[in-house]
Chain length 226, copies 2
DNA sequence: GCAAGACCTTTTGTATACATAAATTGTGTA
DNA sequence: TACACAATTTATGTATACAAAAGGTCTTGC
């Protein structure tokens, strides 16, 4: 694996998993020492992160981990709604009903995956991710998929803002099941509407629980690893 | 201005304006000699172009100007429809009616801008661009605007595929006027529908005239400047 | 005591040299 | 003659040295 890719992957996961908090300054020399590579691959990694929106160039000098604020949440979900509603419509028109019916069956029982044994909710999020993947495959649109992929990077980062709430996750699974069912039935209008409802519920839940989390994480610009 | 920015801007306009055709290999040494800078800023420029989708890394080795095919056109317009329809809806809800009424007045008379004096249609496309800008401002969504900006890069590139057809441009102006009017009236549903109609007309016109153009441009991978 | 300017430090931008990997070409053998 | 393997060549990946710019600090003058 190339050093620039390793650096990129390391920084990316550090940012997504909140080990590097918003506002953290990403100095080239510091990172090159910490990751054990020269500045050249570090610069390439930072450029890629900036293009993705996970970091952004500080006015003229320096790169910092980009902010996630409550205002951003509204805007993020507005874009998400535009893309995912259309994706759901197209999947309903083009997808294989059997695939989505199978996903529906799994999703209605997804509550069972929410055991206290797995605090990271690995299996739960894997199943939800499978629905996303199936929708992407059914849509079969390179550009739309790319836009969704770019968006999901930020959504994973946002997920950490919400408290782990099994009740909400169970509801969310039911909403996902409704989407899968509408797609399986080939009903584009219902698929879109179910997506709208799901996203609205998710956003309101996040806004309700995220305020204190943000206040905790969103400290003034600091330097180095937390 | 930094050398990497100059290189990026030069390559970007070369690609958008078809001086570098799809499939052209972008060699680092060749470009560094042609543009008179070292490989380092060239690499940075190529990374940025790849992130934008204007170029893409050849399997493992080399970077080439990305392709534009008829299949891509369908997919590109599908994403465009998702983003612009939603943007039009939001602009109708949030925009200043006076701004869009003024744009409407200009757009209904846009046919007058299509003189034979200006074969590049500068004033025409500037006015259409003003509508885009006004919609972006009215929507006020950073993420949605960014997604639209990334998309428009490819649309400018695609524009060259269609023949210059004053009749179609006049029709397109009327369609834009209809969108502006719906936004001015605060009617989100009509704004979205008018956008859908406009994009469908544009796509069908492009597909009708682009086949021979593509056949002309889409030669097998070549090297160097055309 | 405050402000302005110069210098010094720190960090980024660029060039270049070197290492490494991939593609192509040439040669040998079947 | 065709295929395979190896060597050469060419391009990319990485490191490092140097240059330039931005920010901070210290000093000096008012």
């Amino acid at each position: 694996m190339r050093a620039s890719e390793r650096a990129y992957a390391a920084l990316r996961s550090d940012i997504i998993e909140w080990r590097l908090t918003p506002g953290t300054v990403l100095g080239e020399v510091e990172l090159s020492e910490r990751l054990g590579v020269s500045r050249t691959p570090i610069r390439e990694a930072l450029a890629k992160l900036s293009a993705e929106g996970l970091a952004k160039p500080q006015s003229g000098r320096g790169v910092v981990v980009s902010e996630i604020s409550l205002d951003h949440l509204d805007e993020l979900f507005e874009l998400r709604s535009a893309l995912e509603c259309r994706a759901a419509e197209l999947a309903a028109q083009r997808g294989d009903p059997a695939v989505f019916r199978a996903l529906y069956e799994q999703l209605v029982n997804a509550g069972e995956l929410l055991t206290s044994e797995d605090p990271t909710r690995y299996d739960y999020y894997r199943l939800v991710g499978e629905l996303d993947t199936a929708v992407d495959a059914a849509v079969g649109n390179h550009y739309l998929n790319l836009a969704l992929k770019n968006l999901r990077v930020h959504l994973v980062r946002v997920r950490r803002l919400g408290k782990d709430n099994p009740t909400r996750l169970r509801d969310a699974a039911r909403e996902h099941a409704a989407i899968a069912l509408a797609i399986a039935n080939g009903n584009a209008a219902v698929a879109s509407a179910a997506t709208t409802v799901h996203l609205d519920n998710s956003l309101r839940h996040l806004l309700g629980t995220a305020a204190q989390e943000l206040a905790h994480h969103h400290v003034s610009p600091e330097k180095g690893t937390p």
